[in-house]
Amino acid sequence: MKPKALVLQAHGSNRDFDVIDALTLTGADATGVPLNELRNHKSLLADFQLLVVPGGFSYADALGAGKLLALDLASYFSDEVSAFVDAGKPVVGICNGFQVLVKAGLLPGKQNQVSVKNEATLTFNAEGHFECRWVNLKSASQNCIWTKDLDEIITCPIAHGEGNFKASQNISSEYIALTYVNANGSSANGVYPINPNGSTMDIAGITNAKGNVLGLMPHPENHIYTWQHPRHTRGETNGSGLKLFANGVNYAKEM
């Protein structure tokens, strides 16, 4: 049976259909569910095997990207989301979704509870502006169900203004799921634009202790067809983002 994926459509989500496309291609039964609909039927979440908080500008980034949607999670779905994460079901937050998971306290770290005690944040890009460009990602932690066994570099775009990962304490390497690298896989060493936003330790994606929750700034859902590759007219088609989604969907299927 196809695992059911819930793509949360908040006020200002805008890459919801992009990720629904990626999940569908990798064998999930993906549905966009508006936040207000979920508020009216909170138990609905338990019927799903996979949760996605997609990219966008929830609440227009007012008061900091992801902040107000994180508040919504804490105010309305704290128990439901905590139970989902506790059950080990795959969760992914992309771009704004990553910002939400971090600001809701679900990433990084050990806790599976939604809280406002933030150990980390995603703040303004070091260059001081929004940026859209293609980057290369390397899987780091083998602990994360989404990124383990990704041997090949993922090539996909970023599109954000607040993707600069900063933590109040050192981040243990087991939580680092993805890093920005050069096309040949060598470290970005913080050099712009290989590391496009100034993130500590070139961090592009973070997981939790259990490895079932992933947050990442780049958009693997925007590289799922060969013609999306910026150099497809040169015959370059490597680095598809589909594998990351396949990992999550397959994990959900086997649960």
Partner: protein
């Protein structure tokens, strides 16, 4: 009620500081040593100490990067560092402040119910400037007087004044006025109506045996504004040779489309956007608008709402927006601030504000910005041009434009405020030094997330068949949207039902407000509740303000009081046709030799590549999201290092089956516009079409939009060049068999300087093209692909240099042949010849591929600006078959791709790395 002021500092380096410092230095504040920004929030309410702590911790700060302090006003917050000056800025009352709205909403979500209202602001600590210089800096960089106020030291926040709505309606005595008095009335109310129009209004009310209300007068002024009714384009124009043109639209633009009669054009000129066929399932819509005057006064808000406005045009044909375009024209960025006319913002400031406005709206609403251009000319210093385009997609046959008697008049989206009053008439006037101050209310900040809610609701409502008609609220506000919708059947609405941002609006202000993010739909009464449910799901407000009546009358009430009672036919057909004179200047096709001054090929090429109009626009392109929705197959930047300029973009709309895509391109050339408007129109048509064909669009399935930006059409010479441009559009459209599907004009782009001189823009025509690419996998980019490949020049290359190049007779045949060879996979790269000629074109192809090329071409023709020509790269094995397909057409092999990264133009060698450096000079 107490007001608390919160100051939020960043603990780490705030990247905004460096950007302010850089911009301040660039406009001459060299003594500025350091500038530090902090965010201000003002919250009014009955709040406990714990509430205040919770607000700070959970809402107003990021605990990892920020700290905050607060104080109850009116006490001063804190003093700055010694030798520094504190400057505080906040929004003027009534200016949309979405963050403040969120603070109130989220506070209540946090159960801090004592929060009553909020405002936002910024605080700057300035080092190295004295008070006077700091005030100058505020004026020229940090604040915009139109929407913000500032003070040295502590600012007092302002909230919109809470006044009870007066409902006051003024009666305007018009029936007994003399001609002079009529004109004075038009001027006094900033109506921009001429005597014939004022007399038509007078006669209508004489026949009605009464005087109009202010609501009626303003409704007519907006409906009859140049912006809404295009009176110049519909005027009867007598040329100096005696020829009479009855409407430029009918005679030239619509005429061309009618003659071409393309079966794949679904709707042209009648709806909010033009519509063409995409595939068996879907149709594609396209519209481009300008937002010039608002962007001159408040660049961020002007461009922001320009993007929002054109998106609503596409929503107005029931389509989902899938791509944005933006073409921007500014004054020189290095202009000496002292030479600026009084009241004009510096071009650098206008550019940064406009670009930020485009970015903010497009990125947040989730529509990729995929095609555009930036042009610089001194003529745009006081009148920048901001062209915003939007493409939409919809399943065929679902868009309805047929309100039924009994349907409810329903407003969806944002609330109505005093914002944007008289925007339509404002944009139809010449600006002067006072314009910014008087017309401040004509501009506002958009709210893209509210408009995103409209997209979510309308696309679903369309699929559920919940409305019978739809239109956007743009210029003229409800008066224009409701008025147009009801123009055949009539309606009755009650303005007290309209939801307001704040109380105190007079009826005419509610009716005319151009508050953004609103759409009007006609909904059958039994479907209202289903639409309401949908709106609730997507946080969108629905307001039922009245009904379509069937009696052909426009009745607007304010409660019991009838404030408009007019015959719809008079309102929409009663405007007298303007009678204008045009003088066609004798623009002989002079032969000029621009190559004579070229001494050194290398220096000349490098200086062209680094000149503002040709140099890379990557710093701007990269801050637009061009990837959202996952459809961008050919991106604005391309090549090995993603830094070469694409001729056009190709997108494959999400949700469509198959491999079909659409190409988006543009043509614009103000330099040609100054020389010969007729030939300029041909040139920009050719440019738009050849750019689309270069990426793989089928030349037999391209549609175009026209956007004319001109000076004052009452001057016969100005009108003459407009007439010539329209004639050029017509003739070129027929030549290419390329129909116009929509268009728009923005006239009176002039500035009356304090010196009494009029500064007009160069005649500027934007042609936006949309074409079908049969297979996105076959799309072509400009970057050279492989050493050893052959480089051909295709098209009839004219060696004769004219003031504006002709379009060669072979152009269309060449494009058709190119398209066939692309379909046969014979073309590895293609790039058109435009500004800077063949040399710039091959240089950009080298940059794209980081490969060299050896070119043999007559030295004196390397930089010729020509039409109808492209460079293409072909593998040697395809040489014969390629040449066969061009058998009876002009083409010549001019060189080869080389491994060594050096561009060799005859004997001149230029390392590709130097080309890259020159091209990226603006970084």
């Amino acid at each position: 009620m107490p007001i608390y002021k919160f100051l939020v500092h960043t603990k780490i380096t705030d990247p905004r500081n460096a950007s302010y410092l850089k911009n301040a230095h660039a406009i001459g504040f060299l003594q500025l040593k350091k500038i530090t920004i902090a965010d201000l929030y003002f919250i009014e309410g009955q709040l406990s100490q714990e509430d205040l702590q919770q607000l700070t911790l959970k809402l107003l700060t990021d605990p990892v990067t920020q700290t905050a302090s607060w104080i109850e006003l009116p006490a001063p917050l804190s003093s700055g560092k010694p030798d520094s000056i504190i400057l505080e800025i906040s929004l003027r009352p009534g200016v949309t402040d979405p963050v403040a709205e969120q603070i109130v909403r989220a506070s209540h979500e946090l159960k801090i119910d004592g929060v009553h209202r909020a405002a936002t602001g910024s605080r700057f600590q300035v080092e190295g400037l004295n008070v006077e210089q700091t005030q100058q800096l505020a004026k020229s960089l940090l604040a915009n007087n139109v929407i913000q106020h500032w003070t040295i030291g502590e600012i007092t926040p302002s909230f919109p004044q809470e006044v009870e709505s007066s409902g006051e309606v003024e009666i305007i005595s018009i029936t007994k006025l003399s001609d002079d008095e009529l004109l004075a009335l038009s001027k006094e109310r900033r109506a921009a109506l001429d005597l014939a129009e004022m007399k038509a209004i007078q006669n209508y009310f004489i026949a009605e045996k009464r005087e109009p209300t202010d609501v009626e007068f303003e409704t007519i002024a907006q409906t009859w504004s140049e912006h809404c009714v295009h009176k110049t384009f519909k005027a009867k124009i007598t040329k100096d040779d005696g020829q009479v043109i009855d409407s430029l639209i009918k005679t030239y633009l619509k005429a061309a489309t009618d003659k071409i009669n393309a079966p794949w054009v679904i709707s042209a000129f009648v709806d909010n956007a033009g519509i063409i066929d995409f595939d068996d399932e879907f149709e594609i819509s396209f519209k481009a608008e300008t937002h010039n005057h608002p962007s001159a006064v408040e660049p961020f808000g002007g461009a922001n709402t320009g993007v929002g406005g054109v998106i609503r045009d596409v929503l107005g044909v029931s389509a989902k927006p899938i791509a944005n375009t933006d073409i921007l024209c500014f004054g020189p960025q290095d202009l000496d601030p002292k030479s600026l006319p009084e009241g004009v913002l510096h071009p650098r400031r206008i550019q940064s504000g406009v670009v930020a406005g485009v970015q903010d709206y497009g990125n947040k609403i989730g529509i990729p910005t995929v095609n555009g251009a930036i042009l610089y000319d001194e003529g745009y210093t006081a009148n920048p041009l901001v062209f915003c385009g939007c493409v939409g997609i919809a399943p065929k046959g679902l868009h309805k434009k047929n309100p039924q008697v009994g349907d409810r008049v329903v407003v969806l989206g944002g609330r109505t405020g005093r914002d944007g009053l008289r925007g339509a008439t404002f944009s139809s006037m010449t600006m002067d030094a006072q314009t910014g101050e008087v017309s401040g209310a004509s501009v506002q900040i958009g709210d893209p997330i509210t408009e995103k809610g409209l997209i979510d609701v309308i696309v679903r409502a369309r699929d559920l068949d919940l409305y019978n008609d739809i239109t956007d609220c743009g210029a003229g506000g409800l008066s224009s949207a409701v008025g147009e919708m009801a123009s055949s059947i009539g309606c009755e609405v009650d303005l007290t039902r309209v939801k307001l941002k704040y109380a105190g609006l007079a009826p005419w202000e509610i009716w005319l407000s151009e508050a953004q993010e609103r759409m009007v739909v006609a909904v059958a009464p039994q479907k209202i509740s289903e639409l309401q449910t949908l709106c609730d799901t997507f946080n969108t407000e629905l307001t039922d303000i009245g009904a379509f009546t069937g009696d052909g009358k426009l009745i607007v009430r304010y409660g019991e009081n009838i404030v408009v009672n007019m015959n719809n036919e008079f309102l929409h057909e009663g405007i007298p046709q303007r009678v204008l004179k045009a003088v066609i200047s004798n623009q002989s096709s002079k032969i000029v030799n621009r190559n004579s001054q070229i001494v050194n090929i290398k220096d000349h090429l490098l200086s062209l590549l680094s000149s503002p109009n040709i140099a890379s626009k990557a710093p701007v392109i990269r801050i637009y999201d061009h990837e959202v929705q996952g459809g961008t197959a050919i991106k604005p930047l391309t090549g090995v290092k993603d830094d070469a300029p694409s001729d056009a973009s190709v997108i494959k709309p999400i949700g469509t089956r198959g491999v079909k895509g659409i190409a988006l391109s543009n043509g614009i050339n103000p330099e040609f516009g100054k020389r010969d408007a007729y030939k300029m129109a041909w040139s920009v048509m050719d440019e738009a079409i050849r750019n689309a064909v270069a990426v793989g669009a089928d030349p037999s399935k391209i549609a175009v939009l026209d956007n004319f930006c001109w000076g004052d059409p009452l001057r016969p010479e100005t009108l003459g060049s407009l007439v010539e441009a329209c004639r050029g559009c017509h003739d070129a459209a027929l030549f290419y068999n390329t129909p116009f599907i929509s268009g728009k004009d923005s006239l009176n782009n002039e500035y009356l300087g304090a010196d009494g001189l009029r500064h007009a823009i160069p005649p500027t025509l934007l042609i936006s093209a949309i074409g079908i690419v049969h297979d996105v996998n076959q799309a072509i980019t400009i970057d050279l692909k492989e050493a050893g490949n052959l480089i051909y020049l295709i098209g009839d290359f004219s060696t004769e240099q004219k003031n504006v190049p002709d379009v060669p007779n072979s152009a269309l045949q060449v494009y058709k042949a190119l398209h066939q060879t692309i379909k046969n996979n014979l073309i590895r790269s293609a790039h058109d010849l435009s500004e800077g000629g063949l040399a710039v074109s091959i240089a950009e192809m080298c940059i794209g591929g980081r490969l060299g090329a050896e070119i043999n071409f007559e030295e004196s023709n390397l930089f010729n600006e020509v039409n109808g020509c492209l460079l293409v790269e072909v593998t040697p094995s395809n040489k014969t078959i390629f040449e066969k397909q061009f058998a009876n057409l002009p083409f010549q092999k001019i060189g080869e791709v080389t491994t060594k990264p050096i561009l060799k133009l005859n004997e001149t060698e230029i390392p590709v790395e130097e080309l890259v450096q020159a091209f990226n000079t603006l970084h």
